[in-house]
Symmetry: D2
Subunit: 263 residues, 4 copies
Amino acid sequence: MRPTTAAGPHGYSLPLSPSGTASMLTPPPWHFSGNVVMVDYRVDPAEAGRFLPPELTPGPDPGAAAAVFAEWQWCSASGAELPDPGRTQFTEFLVLLACTHRDRPMARCCYAWVDSAVPLVRGWVQGMPKQFGEIHQTRPAAVGRAGPRLAGGGRFHGTVSVHGRRVAEAAVTLEGRVDEPPALHAVPLVHSRVFPDWVAGVSHPAQLVTSEVTDVEFSDIWAGRADLRFLGADDDFGLLAPVEVGRGYVFSYAETLCGGTLL
Amino acid sequence: MRPTTAAGPHGYSLPLSPSGTASMLTPPPWHFSGNVVMVDYRVDPAEAGRFLPPELTPGPDPGAAAAVFAEWQWCSASGAELPDPGRTQFTEFLVLLACTHRDRPMARCCYAWVDSAVPLVRGWVQGMPKQFGEIHQTRPAAVGRAGPRLAGGGRFHGTVSVHGRRVAEAAVTLEGRVDEPPALHAVPLVHSRVFPDWVAGVSHPAQLVTSEVTDVEFSDIWAGRADLRFLGADDDFGLLAPVEVGRGYVFSYAETLCGGTLL
Amino acid sequence: MRPTTAAGPHGYSLPLSPSGTASMLTPPPWHFSGNVVMVDYRVDPAEAGRFLPPELTPGPDPGAAAAVFAEWQWCSASGAELPDPGRTQFTEFLVLLACTHRDRPMARCCYAWVDSAVPLVRGWVQGMPKQFGEIHQTRPAAVGRAGPRLAGGGRFHGTVSVHGRRVAEAAVTLEGRVDEPPALHAVPLVHSRVFPDWVAGVSHPAQLVTSEVTDVEFSDIWAGRADLRFLGADDDFGLLAPVEVGRGYVFSYAETLCGGTLL
Amino acid sequence: MRPTTAAGPHGYSLPLSPSGTASMLTPPPWHFSGNVVMVDYRVDPAEAGRFLPPELTPGPDPGAAAAVFAEWQWCSASGAELPDPGRTQFTEFLVLLACTHRDRPMARCCYAWVDSAVPLVRGWVQGMPKQFGEIHQTRPAAVGRAGPRLAGGGRFHGTVSVHGRRVAEAAVTLEGRVDEPPALHAVPLVHSRVFPDWVAGVSHPAQLVTSEVTDVEFSDIWAGRADLRFLGADDDFGLLAPVEVGRGYVFSYAETLCGGTLL
């Protein structure tokens, strides 16, 4: 697994060092436990198609999309990061599109923002297009008036800002529990591992991969009515703005991320 | 309530403006809902006494102290901030000392750090000595391996850093539920409202006040064994370092803060 | 100067402690050295008047205003903060209005944002309405292409965001040196020290004060054409939006802030 | 240059999008203008060797090292980022080791921290082991007492913190101008492009590359006596702690980074 010759400094990632412990990233598996505020919505199907590489097709429900806010804790197999909660916590916002690969339903992550560098770089290892943003979502409150209960009428909000500008906002008002997770949270993610050109004459083709995930766990899943607004990031982000907003969901979720498989 | 003449710009606090809506602070009441990781400990009683103004005495248990990590959501009476979760959320670390005022048991907050400016300034209005820091604490996880359950064996951590240096660290391993909140979370806080000198010849004496709180709510209270370390902030912070560490607690808590009363 | 009784913990500000060294603020004087990007502009004079307390009048040029970006280093009289550059540096954005007090030309700071907590609290001690924001301004570059020279044609930008939303933007393109500082940087600031109500039945009237400043120094002052846009903060901020944009300025500036005088 | 098939979404880096404008990174060249505070020092030569891949040797001066603080502005070839100064500015701290590749003197960057995500990811494209930290350095002051002049006696500081803990500190007191840049700022950097394993059965060997740089510019170079302390990051960082501290330097520097060349 050493990315350099055995004789030299090594590590799962940069920085390489004599013992390998300087590596910014620990090798997978990585465990995640988080709280999710998610909104199903629809984009213009023609625009959705333009975000899919040729190996993927829009599938039976073209234009189906989701906006996902999540507040995570993560740790390595060893759990070594847990005594330092600031290292284990991050927030995330994803834009997912429904698609199929050889008739297998999958979700394409077109945009992703996180607020922490290790998850960002780890995203790039997987092909997940994570950028840096400020993401906030309502936390359920067990007591008091400064937050909703996980119960009917509870109102949850999510906001994303990038470079000091608001990019997206969502709200979900809970109505009741549902039995099934939202469709785009129940299918595998399909990413393109991209290696930007750097050395003249050396190009690495993108790799279409899906993430291998184990130990998936859902809490009760609450659903309700939702709002979603996109306010603009780069020139293309608006192409994925909602043309119709569906149901919203609030739930806890866990998974272990083990590696990737070429498609 | 207008702090300036009626004819001019006004507001509960600065900035003053024609409608008063520019005010950084909304007037009380303020609602708070949060999660607390707290450690009872003991300081050198002689040093504790040096942190108490003459109107307060160490009381029957001199040297009793607590370190409190909390992750809050707050909102005004109107709840207007709730759609912007980034505005409602902050983290806090407090150092509390047991004391009495005319035989009434109280808690003196000697140090406080928060990670958000509105709570910081609001703290100064109350006489709470809030400074700016990075505070993190473990969140319980409903599912998965990247966080403890609120259950026996669950291990919760808290860390505080100020100006890029670690100031304090704590850990609590849950053993079981208890019926009573930790002593220093069950008594009123007593603060000194301090108005730093600015105008030559004009001095405002400090005011000894206690906070008026309503709608107190506790969740189940978990307790267990604890660790606590102080690593150093200013020259005096170390005087309140633990000479003995007691029980740790994890619970949710809510209150509404309504104003202050002169003692 | 001790704000509490001599026998107890003390300090220039909270937190009070046995030696006084825990105080978040050092007592004045405070030294400041900074780089300024400033734009003269005009607001609707009627709206300007609504931001002035009755003791102040709009003066001979009603509606004259300025937007000021500054990147500061500060230190106490002892210079003790200088080895920790992260503590000494902050950025600031001010909105100033021309006014007069008994025919003395002054500048009223209606809005102020900074990115650091000590300057924020110190602002409130003076009556300066500092809130928390992300402020950025172009730095001149001595070499290379990733920044302008302090020379004709050099283009400088400033941006302010608050709670993840852009609040104001400015640009200045240098044309030549000028002999005089911009008008609103050459007159004293007049602030209202406001003490938000907290204790029932105890109110502190606002104090109209001007800041006492010594050791003022300007570098060469460059001027040129300017752009300025306000994008919205609270409900009243837009009342001070530009109806006309004047000259822009780029210069270095230093002062020592010593205290305040009642007007 | 498109990393995916021509028919699909594309871009220099993730995120891929229909027009390519969603790409987090712009393609090189990238222009940099910055201010540098640098300290020459020596590490244990045996430890230095353990940080070098087999293709590199310690060269004629084994153990020669440098700690480099820099405050940058950057922009793409188009300069499109310049109106948003917050996007163009970042701070950086590097640990460099002297080495040779086939008798060509080079510098190996063993550790790097930056405070901004785009430079971080761009570093990984080059093989530069950038992690996230809080880096601060003294800015020269043209006027006033809250900063040093670029002149004899001027004292400049640098600090780095990672995850709320201080990692390194430096200070330089200027004595006079020198004609030559510090040795390790005058040789090419040699990096290992590392592609962490993700897809089972697919490994990418590390690529030893040097960066291609044009338009190098130095300002006057000030030198003086220096202090440098390492306080600990990961387990291996301490191996590169100073055993001897040499001269310090303060200067401005610019370059254009164009791509990499395989060694």
